[in-house]
Amino acid sequence: MGIISSLGTGKDKFFRSLLGGTPAFCERNFEDEQFASVPGFYAAYLNEFSAADHLGRKGLRNLSRESQVFMSAGMLAIADAQASPQCWERESVGICCGSVFSGYEDFVRLFADSLAHGIDRINPAQGPQTGFNAPASQLAIFAGAEGPNVTVTSGIASGLDALSQASDLLMSEHASMMLAGGVEAYAFFSAHVLGSARAPGENARALRPFDIERQGTVFGEAAAVLVLEELAHARARGAPILAIVSGYGRAFRPPAAGLELAAGKAIRHALEEARLEPSQIDVVCASGNGERQLDAAEAKALFEVFGDSVPVYAVKGVTGECLGASGALQTAAALLCIEKHVVPKTIGYRRRDPALPLLPVTNEITAVKARHVMIDSLDPAGYSTALVLSTAKRVEGS
């Protein structure tokens, strides 16, 4: 895996922050000479990230920020997986990226610049970065991945949709390795949209998943890429196998019907595909992002399936709500649980909300024999995707 977030660069920093860090939320002002400035957008911004460290200096200038971060996370993931772009089968390696805002900033900026400076001053090299698929395409070009190249968007479910799409492509033998994950980065226009989207009074300075005092979410920037690989292929090259993707479920329900319906359906389908009973799940890496209704719906769905017997762990209290990247970050956290046999404390969570079902949200590090971990995501537009990871020891002699 390769992870770049407000908590730093690399999986070790990420894991250390999950185990005992504090969120890096801060305010940033975005200014623009053509438009009024966006007052302080409070979010978890990328920290100590230099694209040149991962990609070299050449050709960076025309890359959008989200392209740079996704590419960098991709290269970290490749190194972590001990894969070698120089000698891998290029046509068997593909990319799958989930995002909400990819291309958005460059798109509006291109148009705004044409108004301010004239049509002739548009930079042709910047144009392609207006594409949603720019990060995935740029990583393919940089790493030499000539397999399937897919970008998906489904709000907060984007990251898990990218991972599940990637796993489908491996299953249908369209690739033997997929770099899959998500990316989200904010700038003037996206900061404005997200800032404006807040309900009045929702001015959360902390992100408190499932907490009685939760007051909305705080957004975060991140890119997280995981290397998914066909099992025989991974074994043949002696790759480190961290976990198995056992199954996933994807659901959509209109929000008016109750978001818990979407979440419940996604989770049940994931269990069915993984051929597991709820009692066999050892940890839930939840989507909980501090939004009052969203957390309530997810809590309801989780409780209906798992009762109070499975620890529920949410990462967003320390990462922020990273939209397209969130699902991949949660999956990385799940890998931590499987590798270290612990569930971290849900940073940001202090007190139970009695209006929510009695969910065992973790409030301290707990030792857990994590064989099967459920990861779920829920978006206010009615999208939910859930994925089950199982320990590598689960493989049945294949």
Binding site: P128, A134, V152, S190
Partner: protein, 410 residues
Amino acid sequence: MTAGTIQKRVVVTGLGVSSPIGVGIDAFWPALVAGKIGTDRISSFDTSGCLTHKGGEVKGFEPERYIKKLSPDTLPRSAQFAVAVSRMALEDSALLKSGVDAERVGVCFGVVLGNRPSLEKPTRELYHRQNGSDPKKVLNGPHDVTVVSRSPALEFGLYGPNLVTPTACAAGNNAISIALETIRAGKADAMIAGGVDELSETMFLMFNSFRSLSPEVVQPFDKNRKGLMLSEGAAALVLESYDSARARGASIYGEVRGYGNFTDAYHMTAPHPEGLGAARSMTDSLRRSGVSPEDVDYINAHGTGTPINDVVETKAIRTVFGKWADSVPVSSIKSMIGHTQGAASAIEAVACLLTIKHNIIPPNMNYDEPDPECSLNIVANRARKQTVNVALSNAFGFGGNISCVVFAGC
């Protein structure tokens, strides 16, 4: 799916289209076969500062005809298109009358931008300090592209898998591929798969900066071709399993046999010079469909009309088809409707299925002078009556994303 698994057959039972040559299949198909040119002077924004002034616009689209449950005014044009073509395809398929479980019917649309062009008007207003020039009011614009797949789901009460694939010009074929796999995997009984995009001034300015827009007409594979034209539109296909279509007595257009999906991984806008990704995608789509190059009766080309696409596509076709490259008929309907971006390969899929149904190949219009570098059996300027059982549809996107889909008669 491991080797040995028998793949479920997936067929198309309904079609819907909205294009610069007609809205609805009954308008679209005759116009296509007649070689109607739908590209013209752009009226929806001012192109006077640009090098060219023509493109494709959907005319006479009446959202309220197709959108009954949702309020058309609340939807951006791309979502209006998506709902409209979904309605057409659903009615054509009679799927919802057949007692299908709505939780098992999903929606997947591909886009380049989706509803992002809706940002242009407010951005201009803000820049010119109009409308009170409060950034909050004006810039709180649409970033949520999922509206194009969600709107049809909400309009028709479809609660199966719902997704948007924003994969540039290959998006329509990607959506069809995902729908195919979703049904094969048993995660849905039917899917609406399609593509949509609205005409975007920003995209026009971008292509203008590339100097890749044609001034008069789109001339795929012609020696004097000057570039592409930007356009808009949408198309939707209803996909379901062959067994379920037969069981309910549905009318079947054809089968989605298979797809190939490779990437050039070469450059963001220029294709690989030998068409590597294209050749691989075509080859793999044929292999997965169980057809050989000589079985292909028609290639619906990506054929944008740019100097470079058409010559690279030719190279790739010649690589894959060998000696049959001289005989397999090829046409690009972008000659008539321009490049509808995310809708392109979805509209082209509709064209392929109608070609299979009617055994008439739509023409490659504006073909005046053959290009020796684009030596293919171009169906030039007039539709050709020919039995078509297998059609291959190519879609090459920016960033080198490529998706090729094979359609076959049942």
